[in-house]
Symmetry: C2
Subunit: 207 residues, 2 copies
DNA sequence: ATGAATGTGAGTATCCTGTTCATATTCTCG
DNA sequence: CGAGAATATGAACAGGATACTCACATTCAT
């Protein structure tokens, strides 16, 4: 009865071994993302998540030791996704406008399933213990990619980091706002966002 | 007993008549804004607000019939403030760059006391009953001012509204992000935000 | 077939929350 | 001064929600 549970990959109480349990864990994480995006942190309760996943609350606690471990798993998955999108857009050298288009397309894609998950994760969901590290590391790499893009299309070496910050938060702001209004797939908006990015990185000077 | 209470400014249980009670109400609203910004909607409890205001919970309920009436009062005050900032920045005709500078300065000022209040109000705080109207009216006038500015510095009549939406949410995104990192008063950032606005409204065309 | 893996969900033990009310203090004004 | 009105107090209440456990049932791998 006092079997030592060695060192699970994530902070898990038990490692899913069969296909059935893997699907269960996946369903829980997915439902968690849904609840988090739909109801915010305030409405994120383990019972609600279990119900949304079509799984008993007991099953949830079979794999996640507590609520925060679950948020952590959701966070990890989402951040990985977003990161891969930016990495891909800023990968090889390409014309500015194409970069902007790919970035917009990718970011919108990453937000279209759980529109407000990203913001909730950043703003509301608590980040204590070890998750602070995950968070910081994500932010760092996130900015890095933006900075790389900025450096590529802008000569000035000076304000690269600040520009990356401004650009990323501007993009996030537009997408977040569009998500709130269910306008994520409005082509007009996508176009204008591409325009915004291009204009900023082109750097017109008009005093 | 049937004295006409002239104009209950907000939905109040009782109208403050003496200087003392007016100060109390003000303190409650101010503390409410603080709690809302600091702890989010999830941490916004009437008892906490009363304590933060240095006032007993009973006093709070002397003037606000319920929790939502309090949020409503906070919302009204904040929205009025923000609206006045934009109105002022987009008032008379002035060079694009000056408009951008004034807008940035004003918006940062409006966010520097309760950095995340704006976002919490928009994203988390519930808006049912009559407050939906307040909210919508605010959004409408908010966008109107941005649209006016866009129309002034851009020839094309076509995408004015979309551009206003993009511009406003981009600015909000940058400011919100800066607020989260306590970078609101970083001059570099302010400068780059001005740059972003100018660049977008100048409209460099680079295919 | 047998033990391990997986799934169940009513139940528990807190913890909070919004709100009231009987009472105390302070003000206004004749 | 003093009387009634305005203002302030905070313990208490009633109710709900929450995270999490556990004893047991079901399904799998071998």
């Amino acid at each position: 009865m006092s079997t030592r549970i060695a060192k699970p990959a994530a902070r898990m109480r038990k490692q899913p071994r069969q296909a059935r349990s893997i699907a269960t864990v996946e369903a829980i994480i997915e439902a968690g993302a849904h609840v988090l995006s739909e109801l915010g942190w305030a409405g994120f309760s383990t019972n609600k998540v279990a119900e949304a996943a079509g799984v008993s609350i007991g099953s949830l606690y079979q794999y996640f030791p507590d609520k925060l471990a679950l948020v952590e798993a959701i966070r990890r998955r989402h951040f990985d996704h977003v990161l891969s999108v930016i990495r891909e857009a800023s990968a090889e050298a390409k014309p500015l406008r194409q970069f902007a288009r790919e970035l917009v397309r990718g970011m919108i894609g990453a937000h279209s399933i759980h529109p407000t998950l990203h913001q909730v994760l950043l703003d509301e969901a608590p980040g204590d213990r070890g998750s602070r590290a995950v968070h910081a590391s994500f932010q760092a790499r996130y900015l890095e990619h933006y900075a790389a893009a900025v450096a590529q299309y802008r000569r000035r070496r000076k304000d690269t980091e600040t520009m990356a910050r401004v650009l990323s938060s501007a993009v996030e702001g537009v997408i977040h706002n569009a998500a709130r209004r269910n306008m994520l797939d409005t082509p007009e908006l996508q176009k204008q966002l591409v325009e915004l990015i291009s204009a900023y990185l082109s750097g017109s000077r008009a005093t």
